[in-house]
Symmetry: C2
Subunit: 285 residues, 2 copies
């Protein structure tokens, strides 16, 4: 009977879910007050930090001459995270785009309806072009970029959206209320400078033109390409003494439990052996 | 054949999963560098804000005489969020405990092994007593409470752990490296002052003894009981003008996509109707 009833499950071509529930990460990021609070928190403290820094640099010639960028130098390490000197370059803040300034509501709505579908690069490419009016600014992002610009700070976008669809990304940013992004000036994309997904080459090119007073992102790679290894190694180095002081002061993080490098690891990776617990009367040892 | 093979699924008594994957929210919160960065960010900016506030109050008698608590007054609303005047009371910071200062690794490890198991209050009670050595401090939390205490600020814990298991929670906080918590003085629990899960009564009692210069939590209810309604209503009010300026300045949020009031809502609640997208060639309308 077992063999007669055992079948190989067939993945349907278009498995549209009618289930009322969606992944908890989407409930959190796109639907909750808690995620909105985290977003506002990050944008409030970014703008406050930049405002204080400008005041300090205007009041104190030494603060001005000693200032460095939030971008790491070529050859820096996460143990010795030396930053690029600013000289007298004008100020900028460098932001990632997706799930940092923009919520990709349309794409994720479609994704929620197809549970278990793996990431599809062609589908994402289609979205970059078709989704211009189906995105929304992250809570707090519009006010933040407006306040930065009012302080004379240039807003620069550094994203792994494709250079091939640059004009659509410019439109999406504008449509969401985040202002003007111009490819090659304030918008840097995957493919620019021959870069792949790594953003350091682009960051360094931006830091050659601007004093990057802050960076914002939802992935560790939005701050440095040096965050590599297992999730546990990345978590340890993000918490290590030279780096942990960057968060909320020069590097500003937005929450994203929906996709990206944070969502890796099995139960044995995530839970340290000495912290595991099995209740009594559970029928297990 | 269909009927012969159709059975009512039986929930096993102890459904231990051998699956290598765990909920993405757990990968994010307990295993990722991104969540550690968010935690450090919140703790860095909390400590920085308190340090600046103390310096300002010491330098400026008016700042001292005008100071108010981060706790809302009785009768305040989220439209008119008046805060409690401080008088000359000593400074404190009020923290939630679970997934704010402590990661409940042991409990969540067990939860990850039982997918779909609903919340079980008796199991949580067992955990409060048995899990004293299976918790870990949130990244950045130990340094933050130490720096606050070094500045003369009292660290007060306000949690919905049960008053009946107070001594175990005191031990868990101490074991994690977060210092001394004393029930009735610096530890406030569900059941204290006849309170249920609402924390306003306890917050107001704390604010009667201290000038609460900041609050930290992972749930909107850690800041005010006034956050109610649907996820969308809560999200809107967290982003509303009188409230959005609190985040990162007086109220400090830690990420938690694993449990709590953020994880609610179906696809139609979370994704606005005008932001939905269906790819071409998807076989759907």
């Amino acid at each position: 009977m077992l063999s007669a009833c055992t079948t190989v499950p067939q993945a349907p071509v278009a498995p549209v879910s009618a289930a009322p529930t969606i992944p908890p990460g989407m409930q959190f990021l796109y639907g909750s007050g808690e995620a909105a609070a985290l977003d506002h928190q990050a944008y409030n403290v970014l703008v406050d930090a930049v405002r204080r820094r400008i005041a300090s640099e205007k009041a104190d010639p030494k603060a001005m001459s000693d200032r460095t960028s939030a971008v790491l130098q070529p050859g820096a390490t996460l143990d010795q995270p030396a930053t690029i000197p600013c000289g007298d370059r004008p100020r900028a803040v460098v932001f990632d785009v997706d799930e940092t300034l923009l919520l990709n509501l349309g794409f994720e709505y479609d994704d929620a309806r197809h549970p278990g579908r793996p990431y599809d690069a062609a589908l994402w490419q289609q979205w970059e072009q078709a989704g211009v009016d189906r995105v929304e600014a992250v809570p707090g992002a519009i006010a933040a970029v407006n306040e930065l610009r009012a302080m004379g700070v240039t807003v620069v976008f550094n994203t792994n959206r494709s250079a091939a669809t640059a004009s659509f990304t410019e439109q999406a940013i504008g449509h969401a209320g985040l202002g003007t992004a111009k490819h090659g000036e304030t918008l840097w994309l995957k493919g620019d400078l021959g870069s792949g997904s790594g953003k350091d080459t682009r960051r360094q090119a931006i830091a050659a033109r601007y004093c990057v007073v802050a960076m914002g992102g939802d992935q560790l790679g939005d701050f440095s390409d040096l965050f590599t290894g297992t999730p546990q190694q990345r978590r340890a180095v993000a918490s290590s003494p030279p780096i942990h002081g960057m968060w909320g002061r020069f590097w500003f993080v937005m929450p994203n439990p929906v996709y990206g490098t944070a969502l890796k690891g099995g139960i044995d990776d995530v839970f340290p052996a000495d912290k595991r617990w099995t209740p009594t009367n559970s029928g297990e040892k």
